[in-house]
């Protein structure tokens, strides 16, 4: 009934079919924990081998529970943390090989909006300075036109001009998130990595901010890696959704397909756990089904399927062989031995 595969005409103009903006292969990001007992050091396999492509103008939703690696994946793609292994091709270039000036230039095209708008804006800068800073650093507009451009950007995110002399502490969480978006927009990026951008906000404000992201997608055709634990939020904005579990993708599919006919037992459990359920029951609907247990620790080397310990369908092969992501339908990939 509802189709998200076909994006809006404006976005479609910009995204020619097969025009890959970001291509990630075999990405791993491991963190070494502090010195353990008897010289043993634990390694956290936050991202444990992930492949995906993102088309120009496309929004990929990245969902998973805390510790699944979704935030680290977003940060690794932007190289805010250095990946341990793997390839990242961005706009045709080898993004992992860049350094210094080249990296800075490439980062113009790739901007990030963080979860906590209280921590991501400098408390000592006025709003106008915060939005002008990227313009100045990248010499995008002559100084005489900076203010005009700043006001234009603030207008895009619904912030009145008189706010430019205010400081972040004078603004609400929702207003701060608008500023963070304006700052990211200043560089006219091709890709925005949005890490739980509405999670810290109240529901009534969350919808306002989500609408701004929808506008960036539809009007500017900006591609996004939209990280969130809230499936209802992701459903509104993403063209495709990837479900992450213990550092791996366990399922990815076009949004409606993933939400209406999930195949991986974990995705099914996740959808069933949403209050209101995955059915169209919505608010006040039937109670959800129960799922037991918690994910395995990412410090242990993976043997078999990461979901095996909680999976109602697990059998011998699941304990021994890690399933690969395989196509099970149009654009629908699942990593599960038990899905036919």
């Amino acid at each position: 009934m509802v189709r998200t595969m076909t994006s809006d005409p404006t976005a479609a103009d910009r995204s020619r079919p097969g025009d890959v903006l970001l291509s990630v292969r075999g990405l791993k990001t491991y963190f070494r924990l502090g010195q353990g007992w008897a010289g043993k050091r634990d390694v956290v396999r936050a991202v444990d081998g992930v492949d995906f492509d993102l088309q120009r103008g496309e929004v990929l939703g990245l969902v998973g529970e805390s510790g699944s690696g979704k935030t680290t994946l977003g940060r690794s793609v932007a190289r805010l943390v250095e990946p341990t292994a793997g390839d990242i091709r961005f706009d045709g270039g080898d993004f992992r090989q860049l350094s210094g000036k080249e990296l800075r230039r490439a980062r113009r095209q790739l901007q990030i909006v963080f979860q906590d708008p209280y921590a991501s804006l400098s408390p000592r800068m006025q709003i106008g300075q915060i939005v002008a800073e990227p313009l100045r650093l990248h010499r995008l507009v002559p100084p005489s036109q900076t203010k005009e451009r700043v006001l234009e950007l603030l207008g895009r995110v619904g912030i009145e001009p008189y706010f430019i002399y205010r400081y972040p502490h004078e603004m609400s969480g929702g207003q701060r998130q608008r500023i963070a978006i304006a700052r990211a927009l200043a560089l006219e990026p091709e890709l925005i990595v949005a890490d739980e951008p509405v999670s810290a906000l109240d529901v009534s404000v969350q919808a306002q901010i989500l609408k701004i992201f929808l506008d960036l997608k539809r009007t500017d055709g900006i591609a996004m890696l939209f990280v969130s634990h809230d499936l209802g939020v992701v459903e509104r904005i993403a063209d495709r959704i990837s479900v992450m579990y213990r550092g791996l993708f366990v399922e990815q599919a076009p949004t409606d397909r993933l939400i209406r006919s999930p195949l991986h037992p974990y995705t099914q459990a996740l959808l069933a756990a949403v209050p209101g359920g995955s059915s169209t029951a919505g608010v006040g609907g039937e109670p959800h089904r129960q799922v037991r247990g918690e994910p395995p620790r990412a410090t242990e080397e993976l043997r078999g399927c990461p979901f095996e310990s909680r999976c109602p369908l697990a059998e011998q092969v699941c304990r021994e062989v890690t399933p690969a992501l395989e196509p099970k339908g149009p654009g629908h990939d699942v990593a599960c031995h038990r899905v036919g």
Binding site: D202, S204, V205, D256, V283, H288
Partner: protein, 322 residues
């Protein structure tokens, strides 16, 4: 009637001014009933719970009103009498189990303390009972877990231990303040199921406080919506969700991205932001964000009046239907 709150007003006396977190709230909870109190951050919903239990931190206090529990006026009790009510009469579960549990005592001992205090069992029986309560809260290997320290448990297990402590005194009312908020989705679902299950088992009343309307709607018989220190609407859950009357409740329900609604269902936020309790707007505190507001709304705050059967709403623009 188990709990009756009448015209409760609680404030914090800060250097910046008086902050009225609870500004004239009245409601009842019947024995065995589940009531949900929902509202966004800073609306004062947690302070309602703390007012009932006389736990508001300095510089706040209950200024006026009446809280009666099983016919006793809680605000008149001595600190010692109040301690008996907390635990034996009313149990509480907080959002952050990690912060509410004592990090240097074993889980089992923390539960046994409650049992000895409120049910008068000796040390050995209390310990045995503690293991039993842990098991009843769905904690696997309860003997082993009773000997664990809080840091050895996962978030979900800590919350179960917290609920075990709250239930150990066999309370008639369990107040759960954001009981699942800090948890992952699948764990949230487990804790919600546990609360439903123990209510069926023990038959106590529950007051569930949360910002998550969807979650509370699944658990509560009745819902109360709070905004800037006041109740703006109360009704039976099904009715409130299906036919909300107050513009704030309507806006809140429209703003929730309900899963499965489809990506082209328009999402509507409520303009503006939740007001700062130190600088409350005049009259109806929702008026600056309300499409329907006119001069009348800016003068006096509307009171909660019946608009339908067991459905109350505080809005000048909503008239009673017969």
């Amino acid at each position: 009637m188990l709990l009756s709150v009448r015209d409760l007003r609680s404030a914090f006396f800060l250097d910046e001014g008086e902050l009225w977190a609870v500004d004239g709230i009245s409601f009842d909870v019947d024995a065995g009933e589940t009531v949900g109190l929902v509202g966004e951050s800073g609306c004062g919903k947690t302070i309602v719970a703390l007012s009932i239990l006389d736990l508001i931190p300095y510089p706040g206090r209950v200024v006026s009103g009446r809280v009666s529990f099983e016919g006793r006026d809680l605000l008149d009790l001595s600190p010692e009498e109040m301690r008996q009510v907390r635990g034996a009469g009313i149990g509480i579960v907080f959002q952050e189990a990690a912060a509410a549990l004592n990090p240097v005592y074993r889980i089992g001992d923390q539960i046994a303390d409650v049992i000895r205090l409120h049910r008068g069992l000796d040390r050995r029986d209390a310990k045995r009972e503690a293991v039993e309560v842990l098991g009843a809260m769905g904690i696997p290997e309860p003997e082993k877990r009773a000997r664990s320290y809080p840091f050895e448990l996962s978030g979900g297990m800590k919350q179960r231990a917290m609920i075990a402590i709250a239930m150990a005194g066999r309370p008639k009312l369990l107040i759960a303040d954001e009981p699942t908020t800090a948890l992952d989705l699948t764990v949230q679902a487990e804790i919600a199921d546990l609360l439903r299950h123990i209510q069926g088992e023990y038959g106590m009343a529950m007051l569930i406080i949360s910002h998550d309307l969807e979650l509370v709607a699944e658990m509560a018989d009745r819902l109360m919506v709070m905004y800037a220190g006041r109740l703006v609407e109360t009704a039976r859950t099904k009715e409130l969700v299906a036919a909300p009357k107050h513009p704030y409740t309507q806006g809140l329900l429209r703003a929730i991205p309900v899963l499965g609604a489809g990506s082209d269902t328009p999402l509507q936020g409520i303009p503006g932001a939740v007001p700062d309790l130190l600088e409350l707007p005049s009259g109806c505190t929702f008026h600056p964000r309300c499409q329907l507001a006119d001069d009348e709304c800016r003068l006096e705050p509307p009171s909660l009046v019946d608009v339908a059967y067991r459905h109350r709403c505080a809005c000048y623009k909503v008239s009673a239907q017969t």
